[in-house]
């Protein structure tokens, strides 16, 4: 059998062609299809499925992608700002703590001196 030859001669093949003749589904088929087209969400009645919608959908997808990139950049920028502000606040708090410790240390030194002076005066008496 020559499979590249469209004309088959074998009796079995002729019988197959005869037994597989297309059959029409009947008039009800088209009516049912039209009814489904009228009620299906993705049909002609839906303006989203009109011809040309796919092109608009591709355009919308591009716009959505661009918008996503812009939003992502804005969020990243905002995060950088927040982190810088947090670092500045941490540095401010650190310096205040150091200053408070310095003040406390100075006051303790002064109190120590007064105690020593008081003890010296008591010995002298």
């Amino acid at each position: 059998m020559n499979f590249g030859d469209a004309k088959t001669t074998d009796r079995l093949e002729r019988a197959l062609q005869a037994s597989l003749r297309p059959v029409d589904p009947g008039a009800d088929f088209t009516e049912a299809l039209l009814a489904r087209l009228a009620t299906a969400p993705a049909d002609a009645a839906n303006p989203l499925m009109a011809p040309g919608f796919v092109h608009r959908r591709r355009h919308s997808a591009s716009m959505a992608l661009a918008a996503s990139v812009v939003v992502a950049l804005a969020v990243s920028w905002q995060l950088l700002d927040v982190r810088a502000a947090q670092r500045a606040e941490q540095a401010r708090i650190h310096s205040q703590v150091v200053l408070a410790l310095e003040i406390t240390s100075e006051r303790l030194g002064q109190a120590q001196q007064r105690i020593e002076q008081f003890q010296t005066q008591e010995k002298n008496l």
Binding site: M1, R21, D24, A40, P51
Partner: protein
């Protein structure tokens, strides 16, 4: 395999020698949104699509459902198709893949084994030749696995050449030739009585 992933290009497929101005006109009008032209397009292809589904699934109700789903898909995809010739290839390809998916899903169900006797009961009007032989051949085809069955139906119902069948089913050409040869050998081995 999912239908949404089906490509819309048919590089290896041959155009009909005379697709007809009327079909081209209906295609262009349907693509522009003319619903009556779409109905004419459906009527032009409905016998082909329904018969492919019927020969592959063996059940009239499944065939009607598959054929209608295919035309609903066609309605959505019209703007992506280039010509009336592509419509024929698109519907053949889509209904065949959907039918194969259905058969595979059916095979996974436990009651699938019970369908074999029912497949012989597909009512088909047969006014030419030997009706008994034709009915037997159709029943035997339904006993083939889904892919060889699709190859045989595309070959002998749609008169597609092996390269076109390979493009329709996304199969290597040699696989298609092998399925054809083995299926024909198997049918011959069934000892059919064929009159001239």
């Amino acid at each position: 395999m999912t239908l949404t992933s089906l490509p819309l290009e048919f590089p290896a497929l041959q155009a009909d020698p005379d697709p007809g101005r009327e079909a081209a006109g209906d295609f262009a009008a349907a693509r522009a949104g003319d619903s009556s032209a779409f109905v004419r397009l459906v009527r032009e292809h409905q016998a082909r699509v329904f018969s492919l589904a019927l020969r592959l699934t063996g059940r009239r109700e499944d065939a009607e459902e598959l054929a209608q789903d295919t035309f609903l898909g066609l309605h959505r995809q019209l703007c992506n198709l280039e010509s009336a010739v592509h419509v024929r290839h698109w519907v053949c390809r889509t209904v065949t893949h959907r039918a194969i998916d259905l058969l595979r899903a059916r095979a996974r169900r436990p009651q699938a084994q019970a369908t074999d006797h029912m497949l012989l009961e597909v009512p088909v009007e047969d006014s030419s030749g030997d009706p008994l032989l034709h009915r037997t051949l159709r029943a035997l085809l339904l006993r083939l696995p889904e892919v060889p069955r699709a190859v045989m139906v595309l070959r002998f119902q749609e008169d597609l050449d092996p390269p076109d069948i390979a493009a329709t089913l996304d199969l290597p050409l040699n696989t298609v030739k092998s399925h054809l040869r083995r299926s024909l050998d198997w049918l011959r081995a069934q000892g059919l009585e064929m009159s001239r």
